[in-house]
């Protein structure tokens, strides 16, 4: 690995902790970010000659803090700064560092940073933009591209989020335990949104969004280290690992989505699967089921099956039943119906999805599944209707092609009978 790549990886890894600590000193996101930027530039100049410091984050914090204090002094800004006594011994930053960050500081700094980005006063779009900009360190350009927004619009989104935080007097103290649980759920939800934004990307946008699942998993790992005993965070991490393990087998050469049953399972990343399964194992011991854990368990059932026909659909049916209890939604029931059709046949599966018709009237997969079930039951005319509705709702060529194959099959069957 080239020196530059090594430095880049080290800076990225240290970023949340360094910015978190700088935020503790300055209580200003912009200033903390600038300070980190400054320290990173100095690292690029100094590390290739002097070698990397032993504690990368502590180095960046120290250098960043001094640079920012100089900045503030130069600009003559009258802002509250840490008192001189606390900073007077930090002048010579190139000497071995006196500061030792203990575990508690690290935890509080990173949590404060994540909680501020996911403040309940911010809409989800701003939470995501802020977290990717500040915690992950993606450029505004990268984030704008990933979310199909113009760069200026994304810049405005980030600025507005920062202004709202500064203006709302968002407390920089770590929240109390009750708030903490709520905010933790908000951070987890933000991370999963970032992941899905990348994971569900179609062919045309895939390159621009490729960084999102990686950043989401990095953030989840960070969160898991801060909350090592939270089964839902283990579940979230496992869920993303298990989905992402299939990333190379999900698209064909033309960039079209390949359905799970048709994927080349030898391409699945076994290391990610193993780590996902290990995390599910850890989570199960807590005996506190939650939606992320159950979804991860469902993904694990697919990951464990070496061939589609090895899939344990009965267990998947049970897991979806649990998910219906924990996080009811028509889409969950629709997914459960797929498992039911494999275990108990098309009839009960059809009965299960029929009541969903109104709520899923604009949903491609509802009509796709309904058509397939009707076709299995030999109700050709009704199946054709459902498939035609599905085609009208298809959002990708692959979806339409898939349905057209079913319609062709129906036409062939009808010709045979005549």
């Amino acid at each position: 690995m080239s020196e530059f790549a090594w430095i880049d990886a080290a800076l990225t890894a240290a970023r949340p902790q360094a910015i978190g600590a700088l935020l503790r000193y300055f209580r200003d996101l912009d200033l903390a970010e600038e300070a980190f930027q400054d320290a990173s530039l100095r690292a690029l100049r100094s590390w290739p000659q002097n070698g990397p410091p032993r504690d990368v984050a502590a180095w960046l914090i120290m250098v960043g803090r001094n640079a920012a204090i100089d900045q503030v002094r130069r600009r003559g800004r009258q802002e509250a700064l840490p008192d001189e006594a606390a900073i007077s011994d930090l002048d010579d930053v190139e000497t071995p560092l006196a500061e030792r960050l203990d575990g508690a500081d690290y935890r509080d700094d990173v949590l404060r940073l994540l909680f501020i980005c996911c403040h309940p006063g911010l809409p989800a779009t701003q939470q995501i933009a802020l977290a990717l900009r500040i915690v992950s360190g993606l450029s505004v350009k990268q984030i704008a591209r990933a979310f199909m927004v113009g760069e200026t619009a994304m810049e405005r989104r980030v600025t507005r989020a920062k202004a709202r935080i500064a203006g709302a007097g968002v407390p920089f103290e770590a929240p109390n335990p009750a708030e903490r649980a709520e905010r933790l759920a908000a951070v987890a939800a933000m991370i999963y949104l970032v992941f899905n934004e990348g994971y569900s990307a179609g062919a045309a946008e895939r390159d621009d969004k490729a960084a999102l699942p990686i950043e989401a998993m990095r953030l989840a790992r960070l969160l898991l280290r801060l909350y090592p005993a939270e089964p839902e965070i283990m579940g979230l991490m496992a869920l993303m690992l298990l989905h992402h393990s299939r990333s190379t087998s999900r698209f064909d050469a033309a960039g079209e989505i390949i359905l799970l049953d048709d994927q080349d399972r030898r391409l699945w990343d076994r290391r990610m699967i193993a780590e996902g399964l290990a995390l599910i194992d850890k989570a199960i011991r807590h005996r506190q089921r939650g939606p992320y854990q159950v979804q991860a368990a469902i993904a694990a059932m697919h990951a464990r099956a070496l061939r589609p026909q090895d899939t344990d659909w009965a267990h998947i049916d049970e897991l979806y039943a649990a998910l219906e209890q924990l996080a009811p939604s028509p889409v969950v029931t629709l997914n459960r119906a797929v498992a039911v059709s494999k275990v108990r046949g098309a009839e009960p599966a059809l009965a299960m999805i029929e009541p969903l018709g109104e709520r899923l009237a604009g949903y491609f997969h509802f009509f796709g599944l309904k058509g397939a079930l009707l076709m299995q039951l030999g109700r050709a005319a009704e199946a054709r209707d459902a498939f035609n509705q599905a085609i009208a709702l298809a959002t990708t060529p692959a979806q339409a092609t898939h349905i057209r194959q079913h319609l062709d099959q129906l036409a062939k069957d009808a010709a045979l009978q005549n």
Partner: protein
């Protein structure tokens, strides 16, 4: 004399490597491994999953205490390790508890492996 080489690094940085970067490091390491392997000097080498996959059994209390996460104290020192094939974490913790009964005090960190190579070392090597 047989030596154990314990590998330390910043996992945030290592797990930030792209597949290409990871492959490049593994290729460079392989260059070093190969002659040792051919000479029958290389024992088992393992690559561990990140610490987020770890579970720790404190065995200085009875019954032992299971904690999520890696061994995080500084008052004990690393004195040895096992690689044991177990059905799942529950089974691994059962083995750890049996070991704890035979040898109380301290802790076991139970961490799944990401990779394993048995090496080429003959069992008699210790006698040499």
């Amino acid at each position: 004399m047989l030596y154990a080489f314990l590998c330390y690094n910043n996992e945030d940085a290592v797990f930030s490597w792209s597949q290409e970067e990871d492959d490049a490091v593994m290729r460079a390491l392989h260059e070093v491994h190969a002659p040792l392997q051919r000479a029958g000097r290389l024992g088992p080498s393992v690559r561990l999953m990140p610490t987020t996959a770890a579970t720790t059994l404190r065995k200085d209390c009875d019954p032992p205490l299971v904690l999520d996460g890696p061994y995080a104290e500084t008052k004990e020192q690393l004195l040895g390790f096992y690689v044991i094939d177990c059905e799942n974490l529950e089974a691994a913790l059962d083995v750890a508890k049996d070991l704890a009964k035979a040898n109380p005090g301290g802790a076991y960190e139970v961490r799944p492996l990401r990779g394993f190579a048995p090496g080429s070392l003959a069992p008699e090597a210790m006698a040499r």
